[in-house]
């Protein structure tokens, strides 16, 4: 049986005035139903680009190489009709900053009703207004909002409530895969916890696959079984959340994990950890390991060796030639 989602040697370049911008540079990944995967990495490393490619939502300037398989079917070669069906019922995306994308002049309920009417789903028996309305109400309750919010306009809702509406929207047609791009960024701690709890419940109740994107490792570790860390368009580490968070095998993951301290950990008290140097410019990537200009443990060899993922532990890989030494010490 084929996996829910499989990426094979995925590459994505943007054509731009600066020439080709390699945003994703060879990513391999599998996600099964009921699994949760977190994707971390700093701004510009290619997280959103990768997510958009799964539903062929990239702009025309994007050049895609490799394969994107949903249930074994290549998204890149699907007909438009098939793709539309897949976009609602197969897989759906909660976009980055999407809560600002709600239509300000339409009631929330009407926005939720649209995909249900068009594509069926959310348990609506038919596309009659009464059935759709009932389905919208159930959908709102499922994301922890009262049914009466169907009548609300977006500006009458708080940030956390809008984000719940966006999640409801993504769930409208019962997708088997949900991709959530920064679903809690800009929400405060308690509302963030509410949204994360909701996502976790949805996964355990309905066995959907969840890919969650964030620059905050600790947010991902709370919700996801596995964590992938991206740097300069490549996956540089992949493994069980607790291991990537607490025993990272790649120096970059280590810096990322240290940037979000654990409250109560004496090592980080009065000692904020940063990562010196600038994020890489995708149009001008350094040779060898792309992290070497900022890596605290780089060697001469790193400047010329193109480092691919290698095994750190069973089920845990990292792209670093000094993997043994790095993985040895905890954060």
């Amino acid at each position: 049986m084929s996996a829910l989602l499989e990426l094979r040697d995925l590459t994505i370049d943007y054509r731009s005035r600066r020439g080709l911008v390699p945003a994703v540079r060879g990513v391999n990944l599998t996600l099964e139903a009921g699994q949760t995967l977190g994707m971390a990495g700093e701004s510009g490393c290619g997280k959103s680009t990768l997510a958009m490619s799964v539903l062929r939502l990239l702009p025309k300037t994007a050049v895609i190489g490799g394969e994107v398989l949903l249930d074994g079917e290549d998204v890149r070669t699907m007909s438009w009709g098939r793709l539309r069906a897949v976009r609602w019922a197969g897989a759906s995306v909660v976009f980055q900053g999407a809560m600002h994308a709600l239509n300000p002049v339409l009631r929330v309920g009407d926005q939720l009703a649209e995909p249900i009417t068009l594509h069926g789903g959310a348990g609506a028996k038919s596309s009659s207004p009464a059935d759709v309305e009932r389905a919208v109400g159930e959908l709102l309750e499922r994301v922890g909002l009262p049914r009466r919010h169907a009548k609300a306009y977006p500006h009458e809702l708080s940030g956390g409530q809008k984000q719940r509406v966006m999640i409801a929207m993504a769930l409208a047609c019962g997708p088997r895969l949900v991709i959530a791009d920064e679903p809690t960024t800009a929400l405060d701690v308690m509302v963030q916890a509410q949204v994360l709890k909701l996502l976790a419940e949805l996964v355990s109740e309905s066995g959907i696959g969840l890919m969650m994107i964030s620059h905050d490792l600790s947010v991902l570790a709370q919700t996801c079984q596995r964590l992938a860390v991206m740097y300069a368009g490549r996956m540089v580490e992949l493994g069980p959340s607790a291991q990537v968070m607490h025993e990272p095998a790649h120096p970059y993951s280590k810096a990322l994990a240290a940037a979000f301290p654990t409250v109560g950990d004496p090592a980080s008290r009065m000692a904020p950890q940063g990562l010196p140097g600038d994020p890489p410019d995708p149009t001008n990537l350094p040779g060898g390991c792309p992290f070497h200009p900022r890596c605290p443990v780089s060697t001469v060899e790193c400047e010329s060796t193109d480092v691919l993922l290698r095994q750190a532990d069973p089920g845990h890989q990292a792209a670093c030639i000094r993997i043994e030494e790095v993985a040895g010490e905890p954060v």
Partner: protein, 334 residues
């Protein structure tokens, strides 16, 4: 360390839609001493920005006094302008705070010109930039905001504030819009400025990790009031107020672990509902409609107090203080 700024019984109110009054800040006592870093934390809408802005004289308090070095804040435009040189504001979004058509040099020199700071302008700008970690400063003079990274932009904003040699920085979510890797560098800069210049800071944030990283004390705000104040080590490792306990509990990734020093061991306490409405502050303890202790069941007399008796206002001093009837009953001394 002596007292630098103090809010006494401070209230800030806004006229909300429909003529109701929003009590955004509703009786706050808080002190920041010279060279001290205080983190002000709490959920969205609890009044952090309103409190910070009133400390800068940007909003007129409805009630109460703010003293800077013992003197009430000036009320004249001229007096306030002089005051704002000593207390500088750093905002969350560095891009919004910088004029896209002004070079880095102009951005930093602007404040010097407004406040007619004596001395060689070029030298002052260069000094502020290098203190903010932009070195060598000359390299950045002619750069424009769009040519800088987010972290560099925030450094320019901080340099603009530093050029005026303030005694207090009020930073509203200074790293919220920055990348993980840059976050640590900016926080380290705030610590270094405290060390080198004895600069005090009030850092507004909803990131408790930030407080753990750089603050001496933390003040936890809920619906216009401080509910717990004290040294970071105490408040964040052994929180006594049910609201602080809930905030901390949702941070831990290992839900099984009990919070040190608290009676709670049942995993994250995710408070339901949205942040409450400052136009309708509940009677009694303002946290009671969401309080997990009330929900779990308290002795009848205690529950009556939670629902009907307001909790005394904390003095905002140096020792740990908690605004909760139950916590007070557990520690009769405080």
């Amino acid at each position: 360390m002596s007292e630098l700024i103090r809010a006494e019984d401070l209230s800030v109110r806004f006229k909300a839609r429909g003529g109701a009054t929003a009590r955004a800040v509703d009786g706050v006592e808080l002190t920041v001493r010279k060279g001290e870093i205080v983190a002000l934390v709490g959920e969205s809408g609890c009044g952090k920005t309103s409190l910070a802005r009133s400390l800068l004289g940007l909003v007129q308090p409805a009630q109460g006094v703010i003293r800077f070095e013992g003197e009430p804040l000036p009320t004249t435009a001229k007096g306030l302008k002089a005051y704002r040189r000593q207390a500088q504001l750093v905002l969350q979004d560095p891009t919004g705070a910088l004029n896209p058509r002004h070079s880095v040099y102009e951005a930093v020199a602007e404040g010097l010109r407004i406040h007619k700071v004596p001395g060689d302008e070029r030298e002052l700008v260069a000094d502020a930039l290098s203190r903010a970690g932009l070195r060598p400063p000359e390299r950045y003079f002619l750069a424009f905001p769009h040519e800088l990274s987010g972290g560099q932009r925030q450094r320019v904003v901080i340099a603009g504030a530093l050029a005026l040699q303030p005694k207090l920085l009020i930073a509203d979510e200074p790293v919220a819009s920055l990348d993980a890797s840059v976050r640590g560098e900016i926080l380290a800069l705030l610590l270094k400025l405290r060390q080198d210049l004895d600069l005090a800071a009030l850092v507004v944030t909803h990131d408790l990790g930030l407080a753990w990283n750089i603050a001496d004390r933390v003040a936890v705000m809920y619906l216009g009031r401080l509910v717990e104040v004290g040294p970071v080590e105490e408040v964040l490792t052994a929180p006594k107020h049910p609201y602080t306990q809930a905030l901390l509990s949702v941070l831990s990734e290992t839900p099984e672990e009990p919070l040190a020093g608290s009676s709670i061991s049942t995993g994250p306490i995710v408070l339901s509902g949205e942040p409450p409405d400052p136009t309708r502050i509940p009677s009694g303890c303002r946290f009671h409609p969401r309080c997990p202790l009330v929900a779990a069941g308290l002795p009848e007399e205690m529950e009556r107090r939670c629902r009907t008796e307001d909790v005394p206002i904390l003095s905002g001093g140096q020792d740990t203080q908690v605004a909760c009837h139950v916590a007070a009953a557990r520690q009769p001394t405080s």
